[in-house]
Symmetry: C2
């Protein structure tokens, strides 16, 4: 690549051009402009389309060369062939491109040929590019949203500490939607699709030095330059946790991955080894990756594997203990000191061991008693599970646990399974930024 170098300007842009801008709500570009405006991007926005004088109150330019300003990001929302045509014209003022258009490598030989030409021209013109076949950037720090999906359909998460890197656009949209729905924030989300230029390694190098990013989540179909990936990832891991999901592990998935973003998935074992070498935490499923994002958005990594479980439902406690052991965590007994203190404070039928079972006689303060007396040096992580049936348990328990968690350096996770009532009750946690899990297993 002649265009190697830092890609920081993608995350701190002062000007964005939207090529193929349109007021027609059926066009993707219309949604992109809508989202950019909604996000409150503070820099200049330049719609580009020879067919319009003005779109949504913004002056519209016939071509990027007509804009008398540098363009940090030019979003290409035009057909594949038009992307090439425009790039052949005067584009000296474009620093970076986000090519959302599909119709390249992912559709077969013809598209692949088109992508080779795209790569050539980008190198020649020294334009760094994300895509093609991607959604681009959703960035709560720079207030950029290039996604062509309406926020009515895919909710946007609030500002948070986790950045997400992904080849798959549908994955980006899905995890953003679910994180928003579960009250977890993100820093920057990058969907780079076919990776004609910018890839996970470029992004990892940037995120390593990015102050707003506290942790990184990676969705990987394929990595082309393994050595560079390991170097970039190792550098990032030294600064912050990096969690990765490799998809297309086995034959059918691998074949699908190749038609999806034109990627060759390669042997899974090589990825496993690379993750280990770089110090990346590998997860096994989409749900585990999302769960990791929810936790890392709020907490640092747990320092060890010793879990304290507090519950008001015996069966739930047992299932969580099983799941912890299954996941290689440990569920050690309470200290004798904690046991004797808790016997005095907890309901009479409570089970004072690990899991602590507060039973259906639980009151809000019993959860705090259990945390205060039992969550000592013996444990690295607490899982607090609530069934909302007990009559004396109230939504107020969330605020109490929040106060405890804010003085505690170790992760306190909430597990609140159940239907409508439980979700309504557990929303008290999500609304104050404490991650809630509906499931007993995973994560």
């Amino acid at each position: 690549m002649t265009t190697e170098g830092q890609i920081d300007f993608f995350f701190k842009p002062e000007s964005i051009a939207l090529i193929g801008a349109s007021p027609n709500p059926e066009k993707l570009s219309c949604t992109i402009l809508e989202n950019l405006l909604k996000m409150g991007f503070k820099g200049k926005i330049y719609p580009v389309n020879p067919g319009y004088q003005e779109i949504r109150g913004l002056k519209c330019y016939p071509a990027p060369g007509d804009i008398k300003d540098k363009i940090d990001i030019a979003i290409f929302a035009v057909p594949a062939s038009t992307v090439l045509e425009i790039l052949k014209g005067p584009v000296e003022n474009i620093k970076g491109a986000i090519i959302v258009s599909s119709g390249f490598r992912e559709i077969g030989p013809e598209g692949k040929e088109m992508e080779v030409r795209l790569k050539d021209i980008l190198e020649k013109k020294k334009i760094r590019a994300m895509g093609p076949n991607c959604l681009g950037i959703y960035d709560t720090a720079s207030k950029v949203d290039t996604f062509f999906i309406s926020s009515d359909k895919v909710e946007r998460p609030s500002s948070g500490g986790v950045s997400v890197l992904t080849q798959s656009g549908s994955f980006a949209a899905m995890i953003m939607d679910e994180m928003a729905n579960e009250g977890a924030g993100v820093a920057r989300v990058v969907s780079y699709g076919n990776k004609v230029d910018v890839d996970e390694s470029d992004c990892l190098e940037f995120l390593a030095r990015d102050e707003v990013t506290k942790a990184v989540a990676l969705y990987i179909e394929s990595v082309v330059n393994g050595r560079r990936f390991i170097a970039a990832a190792s550098g990032c891991v030294q600064k912050k946790p990096v969690v990765a999901l490799k998809v297309g592990k086995r034959d059918p998935g691998a074949k699908a991955a190749s038609s999806h973003t034109g990627a060759v998935s390669g042997r899974y074992e090589a990825y496993e080894a690379a993750f280990r070498k770089a110090g990346i935490i590998e997860v096994e499923s989409y749900e585990e990756l999302k769960d990791a994002c929810k936790v890392l958005n709020r907490y640092p990594l747990a320092k060890g594997k010793r879990v304290l479980i507090i519950t008001d439902g015996g069966g739930i406690g047992i299932s969580i203990a099983d799941a912890c052991e299954e996941a290689g965590l440990r569920v050690p007994d309470l200290s004798i000191e904690a046991i004797s203190k808790l016997r005095k404070k907890l309901p009479v039928f409570a089970s004072v061991r690990n899991p602590v079972d507060l039973t259906g006689n639980v009151k809000d303060e019993h959860y705090i008693d259990a945390l205060q007396e039992a969550f000592g040096e013996e444990y690295d992580l607490a899982i607090v599970s609530l069934l909302w049936g007990p009559p004396l348990l109230s939504k107020g328990v969330a605020e109490k646990i929040k106060v405890f968690a804010s003085h505690c350096e170790k992760p306190v996770l909430i597990c609140s399974p159940g239907g409508r009532f439980s979700r309504e009750m557990s929303s008290a946690f999500t609304s104050i930024g404490i991650p809630v899990f509906l499931l007993l297993t995973g994560g």
Copy 2:
């Protein structure tokens, strides 16, 4: 047991007495009466409490012996010691008891002693009993609901084909709540707690010959009589699928199980072997058990392991394919015939292999095209995954898929991950009885 024999009357009762009945909403018995009435139980209901003449318009009796009728089910909602006292009195008209009271084996030596005396007296008086320390029965066929948790807190599922057997009451409440929330019905749910008498084997014998039960889900902490369990389970498996979750598999969980319902969990390997011998399908987590219930409520068991995946999001398709392979299922290629037919019908960028990726250009009918052309003899099961971002995809797809599924003998499962908008869209499936999964993995 001198009281062995059929327990059918628990599921076809003509009369129910509620011992400890009270109009005081803080009493569990008040909630039980509320739920019984709400459920629309058609038989006689006899409140029993020497302190009242009448409760909610029903004549109240001082003691069970004062009721001049046989009592199929006497629900005991009084303290542990009172249970024993009452049973020592005239109770000849009681056939079966559901003892919801806690304070027995699960609280330690003193409670265990009490439970031994309870067992003695039940045998002497030839009363079959569920519990103690249980929720009892929720039965959509006999319209019985003995659960002491309000339906405001734990939703009740509609009438369906799966019966659930469990030691843990919190588990019963949780799975009912979640199944109701996800539109899946149940036949009968039995929470038998400490199992002083009626246990999983009694219930399996009944459920084997029960016509409303199409499949059985078992939550097991411990089994006391392994040989009888294998016989009862084998008999049931010959008639309908039986799925089981064993909890307390490992040390910490096992210890918690013992304090929870006073059960000794025993070596997990013995359970694994028993499940295999009886032909029980073992699942690994609560979520898998719930997922199995959702599927078996709607579909028969799949006949094989070959899965067709249809999606409109490439990344999702790959993740599902990975998860299928991980779970020991197969994701075989489409037939050449199906490929050539689909190329003519699907969007131009669609990926015509397995997973079929309909892409963001998908219209409702493309899902049906893919099902009609591809879901042939080569597959045993279809997973249809929908991301709701594509502009031409509508809620109407649910009705179309329902029509297809109703003419198809094989399971068609829906996977619809995402946040608020996705849940709203996918409710079109749950409302017509097609199971929807929010997750890509599990189940």
